[in-house]
Subunit: 147 residues, 2 copies
Amino acid sequence: MNAQEMLAVAVAEARAGLAEGGIPIGAALFDRDGVVLGRGHNRRVQDGDASTHGETAAFRNAGRRASYRDTIMVTTLSPCWYCSGLVRQFGIPHVVIGEAQTFSGGHDWLAEHGVEITIVDDPECVRLMTDFIAAKPDLWFEDIGQD
Amino acid sequence: MNAQEMLAVAVAEARAGLAEGGIPIGAALFDRDGVVLGRGHNRRVQDGDASTHGETAAFRNAGRRASYRDTIMVTTLSPCWYCSGLVRQFGIPHVVIGEAQTFSGGHDWLAEHGVEITIVDDPECVRLMTDFIAAKPDLWFEDIGQD
């Protein structure tokens, strides 16, 4: 499975979040054979849960694992510091990112610490976030902790 | 409320987690007036949830907030990279840590980025972790993503 094919799973999650009235960011954790271990999307609005970003949802839904050395985190948007910290702590070696234009989190920091970073620069990911930020700026700034 | 008084709430959470058969790490998010906004403990064992560390539990249980500029994160153990990333992303300006002897996460990095760090060096926090790591080393290494 290539990056674009894996990204399609994360984009489907982002679209699902949008359809629920939520923040359109999705993610999926894959193994190296292209098997989805967990997938999910931001649930701030749906569950009133500030802790569930796309990446943390995918990570949670992958269940308990002894190791993440053979996994790939795929996300529609550059991971924020919270989600970048998740990747570093659990030793996820590769992150595939839909886009890093509308928001740039900790992916350069992850690269400095040896994580492989693939930025797809996907037009649909950019459009999802551009439209969302224009429509609901307060919700977006809340989700990234900007007053 | 001083650091030791706030820490007592996090320690109570850690003890509750231990009593449930879980990992004895607890946390609480306070406002500057000493009001508990959210408290919680690691739930890897109890819920099969790898994403719920003490700090993320306290953060989730505090609900949705537009700003964290007036909050203090209190945790029994030095925050791992995942939880340190949470603190940085959401602009939590002060972290009170029970101990950083048995595990040292991202608190120096947070300090470099302007977060006030208070390490209480609490003997009970050290004992909780020392006993736990000796009793269940595999569970501990799983929780911090070390193969």
